[in-house]
């Protein structure tokens, strides 16, 4: 039985709306996330774990996926463009979108600046791509730290951060419904210690490293699951900074 609309990144709000209207009682599956699906051998071994997740999940749920909503613009990455082509070639129904305009942009980011735990912030932002709930009632918290980047494959690294951590980078762009807003993506609070994270082999490492040097933050790239030393490094930076 096909009961899943799969997606990655931030599909254009218009195609999400159409999918919700057309398909009732289906699940929306975020292919970016590591659910422990079996590995498929399509990509080179040394490749972005998030793109690997897309393939692993797509094949694991193949019999249940109605179609895949696939961002292919600057709001995601070149790898997603190629993934959309390959998955089409492999028999999936793929509806591509480009969400580069700023017509939907919100001026505030209540989840990113709230006092709820960082891992929950990331989960809420990601879930809200589909749900579009209003979180304006969340209280602003004065930040003790910053986290810049994308949702990491290994969400456990987020548990190291204090609750008073503000989110920056692509996740902030997603919350503000502007997944390609390079100025917003570069924005950080210069007065707080910030960890600049990118997934190993992702082009965003370029920006993460540059911004970390510009603002005196900590640059971290992680491939797949974080080791204990990487977690200890983040912990030390947050405590010493």
């Amino acid at each position: 039985m096909k009961d899943i609309i799969a997606f990655w990144g931030y599909p254009h709000p218009d195609i999400i709306k159409r999918a919700k209207e057309e398909y009732k009682n289906v699940q929306f599956l975020d292919l970016d996330v590591d659910f422990g699906a079996n590995k498929v051998s399509i990509l080179p071994e040394n490749y972005c774990t998030i793109i690997k997740n897309i393939y692993n999940n797509a094949y694991f749920y193949k019999d249940r996926i109605i179609k895949i909503l696939a961002p292919i613009g600057k709001d995601k990455c070149d790898s997603a463009l190629f993934a959309a082509e390959i998955l089409k070639d492999e028999g999936f129904i793929v509806e591509t979108s480009i969400f580069e305009e700023k017509n939907f942009k919100k001026e505030i980011a209540p989840i990113s600046t709230s006092s709820i735990p960082l891992k929950t912030k990331v989960e809420l932002i990601t879930k809200n791509i589909i749900e579009q709930k209003n979180y304006d009632n969340l209280d602003y918290v004065k930040p003790k730290a910053g986290f810049w980047g994308v949702p990491p494959n290994d969400l456990s690294i987020l548990e190291i951060f204090p609750n008073e951590t503000h989110i920056f980078g692509w996740m902030r762009c997603v919350e503000q419904m502007a997944p390609y807003d390079i100025e917003l993506e570069k924005f950080v609070d210069k007065n707080i210690k910030t960890v600049f994270f990118a997934q190993t082999f992702c082009a965003k490492n370029q920006l993460a490293k540059y911004l970390s040097q510009k603002y005196g933050g900590l640059y971290v790239d992680i491939d797949g699951i974080s080791n204990s030393s990487t977690k200890a490094k983040i912990e030390a930076y947050l405590r010493l900074g």
């Binding site: 699940q27 929306f28 599956l29 975020d30 996330v33 659910f35 006092s115 709820i116 735990p117 929950t120 989960e123 809420l124 990601t126 879930k127 589909i130 749900e131 979180y135 190291i160 951060f161 204090p162 609750n163 005196g216 900590l218 080791n227 204990s228 030393s229 990487t230 200890a232 490094k233 912990e235 030390a236 930076y237 947050l238 405590r239 010493l240 900074g241």
Partner: protein, 251 residues
């Protein structure tokens, strides 16, 4: 009453014993640590699974507190498994890094090379020539190539060590001076090589255990951040169930 503090490295464990305010240091092989039947006050390091300890502390935090007298400068701890450094300016934290991914360009590799080629560290022939050992595996390949082409193994390993020194200098962002902590303090071939690039002051192998003692004696142990808010609701991403977010403040 004796108090014990432990820095359990991958190969060697450094122990500080404090009795009546007097400090005594010792080093044992980490594989023998399970025979060391004491309870440590605070421990740090990679190898703590079989150790009785009241508290564990982050290695960079231990390094920072161990070198707290250094108000300005870069303190580098280079051991058998990894390298980490912290920089202070006017007594305040400024920068840090920790090479967490590759252990192949550190002390364990040098020890293996010396054993493999049956060479004593003191017999190495100093050279400012170096291999590019950003990856230690590629470095090993170059050693083998050179030796098979007739280069003396005492020079080849020396070039490898100079490569490690060059890495350490670049990794710490090329400071004017490095305060060196860890096992490499006792490898004069390495410290001489590091002096090709920058000034070096040796702090010895017990900086981290001194840091643990400072944390203990000044009651500065903090541990992880406290979580004061409990959130229930979206604990998974793929099934938007419409569950409401509940945020509770807890003691």
């Amino acid at each position: 009453m004796e108090k014990y503090f432990l820095d359990a490295g991958t190969t060697w464990s450094k122990i500080l014993t404090v009795k009546d305010g007097k400090k005594a240091y010792s080093i044992i092989r980490t594989k023998d640590l399970s025979n060391y039947d004491v309870e440590f006050e605070i421990s740090t390091g990679h190898t703590l699974s079989k150790v009785k300890t009241k508290k564990t502390e982050n290695e960079v935090i231990a390094l920072s507190f161990g070198a707290k007298e250094i108000k300005n400068g870069v303190i580098l701890d280079l051991g058998s498994r990894d390298a980490k450094w912290v920089k202070f300016e006017n007594g305040k934290f400024k920068d840090m890094d920790w090479n967490t991914n590759c252990a192949s360009s550190t002390g364990a590799t040098v020890e293996m090379l010396l054993k493999f080629y049956e060479i004593n560290s003191d017999d190495l022939i100093p050279t400012n020539e170096k291999y590019n050992v950003t990856c230690g595996i590629f470095g090993l390949e170059k050693i083998m190539d050179d030796i098979s082409n007739g280069i003396d193994s005492k020079i080849a390993i020396s070039k490898f060590i100079t490569g490690i020194a060059n890495n350490a200098y670049n990794f710490t962002k090329k400071p004017d001076k490095i305060y060196l902590s860890g096992g490499f303090c006792e490898n004069s071939r390495f410290t001489d090589a590091l002096k090709f690039y920058t000034k070096v002051e040796l702090l010895g192998r017990f900086v981290l255990v001194d840091g643990l003692y400072n944390i203990y004696s000044e009651n500065l142990f903090k541990g992880r951040f406290d979580k004061k808010i409990k959130v229930t609701g979206p604990d998974y991403l793929h099934d938007p169930s419409g569950e409401e977010l509940i945020i509770e403040e807890i003691d």
